[in-house]
């Protein structure tokens, strides 16, 4: 029965021996941080280690950097697993929708713009400027930019004879 009395002591010795072989959490943390230092995209990343489990947090610039920091950490000796809690920047806001001029002010603006283009008739409906008539190429090259500046939905010259 002597062996039974010695058992707790043996377990303690065994435990100390094995834990002595594993890198300590603090060392793992230092090594992960050192490995991450080589990646400039990882400057905002923080490292925590608990029993070999690495938790990464903080900001990364993009998805590629996010994946890279996790695989870098995974490659460090003694790391059992990596929990990647790093955060990507929010996506850029979608561009503002194109604002189309209302028909009344657009009609007035189109009348002003086409005043000096005799032979051209413009109709405005739901933002679309429809042109008919005849115009020279050189004059059309002047008129189209003027019309496009009035915030129309589109300018339809299919009824216009350009020569």
């Amino acid at each position: 029965m002597k062996i039974l009395r010695l058992l707790p002591a043996l377990i303690l010795v065994a435990g100390l021996t094995f834990s002595g072989c594993k890198p300590k959490d603090a060392d793992i943390k230092a090594n992960v941080e050192k490995a991450l230092k080589e990646n400039p995209a990882a400057t905002g990343v923080m490292v925590m280690v608990n029993e070999g489990v690495v938790t990464l947090s903080g900001d990364v610039s993009d998805a590629a950097a996010q994946a890279a920091v996790a695989s870098t950490a995974q490659g460090v000796k003694g790391v059992k697993s990596v929990t990647n809690n790093t955060v990507l920047p929010p996506p850029p806001p979608p561009p503002a929708p194109v604002v189309i001029a209302a028909d009344d002010p657009l009609t007035k603006a189109v009348t002003d713009a086409t005043k000096d283009f005799p032979g051209v008739t413009a109709m405005v409906s739901e933002g679309v400027v429809t042109l008919t008539g005849t115009i020279t190429k050189a004059r059309w090259m002047k008129l189209k930019p003027m019309l496009d500046a009035l915030n129309p939905k589109s300018v339809d010259p299919k009824g216009l004879t350009i020569n």
């Binding site: 561009p95 929708p97 194109v98 007035k108 603006a109 009348t111 002003d112 713009a113 005043k115 000096d116 190429k137 059309w140 090259m141 002047k142 189209k144 930019p145 003027m146 496009d148 500046a149 009035l150 915030n151 129309p152 939905k153 589109s154 300018v155 339809d156 010259p157 299919k158 350009i162």
Partner: protein, 140 residues
């Protein structure tokens, strides 16, 4: 082919030519290209490129509003009508009474850019009113 691809040469040219605030947006089958060109020559070149891709702009699938950047300190503008005099009106609109005229090629004073289409100007004779901005060019 998407509109962005169809007009890629045009938007690339706008970027290369230094168009500032360039915005390219596709909405309901129309490509809207907005920005400010560094010079009138750049604007003309972009319109020539657009005409090359879509001759005579017949497809009607682009609305390009590229303005020409103007120095805020500009006070003199030149009348660039085809050949005729430029009407100066009481208010912004062709329905407004004519209060004066500026000759083709005349250099007049820019008082303020009332809106994009109509600028407030003053001639050397002291006539003041609104003129159509397309017929005014910043005097170098």
């Amino acid at each position: 082919m998407t509109l962005q691809n169809k007009y890629k040469e045009l938007t690339d040219a706008a970027t290369a030519a230094g168009v500032s605030g360039l915005q390219v947006r596709e909405q309901d089958g129309v490509l809207y290209i907005d920005g400010t060109a560094p010079s009138g020559a750049v604007k003309d070149q972009l319109w020539a490129t657009y005409d090359k891709i879509d001759p005579n702009f017949l497809s009607g699938d682009v609305v390009m509003d590229v303005k020409v950047g103007m120095d805020a300190a500009t006070t003199k503008v030149k009348v660039v009508t085809e050949s005729s005099n430029l009407n100066i009106r009481k208010g912004p609109g062709t329905d407004q009474p004519i209060v004066g005229k500026a000759a083709h090629g005349e250099v007049i004073t820019l008082v303020s850019q009332g809106n994009e289409q109509w600028w407030l100007v003053r001639t050397d004779d002291g006539e003041e009113g609104y003129a159509y901005a397309q017929y005014l060019s910043a005097e170098a």
